[in-house]
């Protein structure tokens, strides 16, 4: 049984975990990655316990995000050799 339904806008992006997170009653964080969201996954799990939540979101919002993040990943890679030189 899903512990709660949580809208994606109420989840926080965690840079370290590279995932959207939401507090879990056990003290850890429910987590779901952008890749999960692109695939239509709607369950965010907690790594420390058996609880999970249902994430409410629009899959299309993340399909578009795919291209953006690819571009973002490319830009630093291009710049990197310049800064080294």
């Amino acid at each position: 049984m899903s512990y709660d339904d949580v809208e994606i806008e109420d989840m926080e992006w965690n840079e370290e975990l590279q995932a959207f997170t939401y507090p879990c009653p056990c003290g850890d964080l429910f987590q779901i990655t952008k890749d999960d969201l692109r695939l239509g996954e709607e369950i965010a799990r907690c790594p420390s316990c058996s609880l999970y939540i249902t994430v409410v979101y629009n899959q299309e919002d993340f399909l578009g995000d795919n291209d953006k993040s690819k571009k973002k990943n490319l830009e630093p890679a291009k710049q990197l050799p310049i800064s080294v030189a």
């Binding site: 512990y3 709660d4 507090p23 009653p25 056990c26 003290g27 850890d28 420390s48 316990c49």
Partner: protein
Amino acid sequence: MEEAQRDEEESKQQQIWSWGAGTEGQLGTGKLEDEYLPQFLHVPFLSSAESISTLACGGAHVIALTSGGRVFTWGRGTTGQLGLGEMLNSLHPKPVSSLQSYVITHVSAGWSHSGFVSDIGLLFTCGDGSFGQLGQGDYRSQSTPVKVDYFANNFVNQIACGMRHSLVLLNGNQVYGFGSGKRGQLGISRDKIKSINLPQVTCGLEDVQIVSISANGDHSAAISADGHLYTWGRGFAGASDANFPQLSLSSLRCTKAALGWNHGLLLTGDEEVLMLGGNYHGVLCDLEKMSAVKHRPVDGAIKTWGWGEHGQLGLGNTNDQTIPQTVSLSPDIQNKEASLNVYCGSGFTFAIRSLSVNPDNISRN
């Protein structure tokens, strides 16, 4: 969260136990693991003349308030909630040195932020501020307690920290809310409020004398001097959210309220425990059944029930329990005059046994 009453007669002997989720150091055991049975703690600062007057347990951190108005914290500190000037976990209790020049009388621990009230009515907050829950007028996090200037001309009596919001009770009776308000937990507006970073008065309590406030998850509650319970924020048991304080169970006279993430416990003037909320992991028996359970059993035992996956019930296993079970504390008690206080955080529990006679047993969550 409960009011920390500094008793002048300091109890000379206290024993502390902790159990449940421990991977952030919140149990104060010096280990990063869950404990399924109560762990007897050797807390060095207790050997001083001061005793602990209250504990506040949050998402994964603990605040201890001593009878002398000093504050110690431990557990998760990654958003500054320990107030130790860094964003690091602490395995052992450490004094919050920046508050040393104040006499603190009330503390509260939220999911990832903390609140402290001094004897002259000053309010300090630290920790995660990303929803405005520190009330500092911004969305920054603070690793050292910062005075909330908004209340510079008011006398703050209590603070209650929830998951992403805070409530404040002034001496003049007003209740204020700040932080995330999406589920109505601030009680400040009929419209949906995403979040605010400065305190705003909670509506509908203007003519009510409020004596205590509580917050946890997205729930808020207050108890009036005549024993009425008001709740607002996320609805219990699938009920709709309330944007304003609602009078719940108006026939009851409550003396204490403790909120969980999906349920609440009430203590009545007849020392009966009642429960509000849905049904998950056996956290909630039906209200009728629970009303038969007295808050203070004659044998002075600790009773636990509900979710047990991290051992937070202290019964030696990870089972859920739908009926209150008795927790055994070791070393066992010799002095029947001792009082027991229980404090629940997110997946972990603390118990303090004081050998001085104190009729005001406190429980939370």
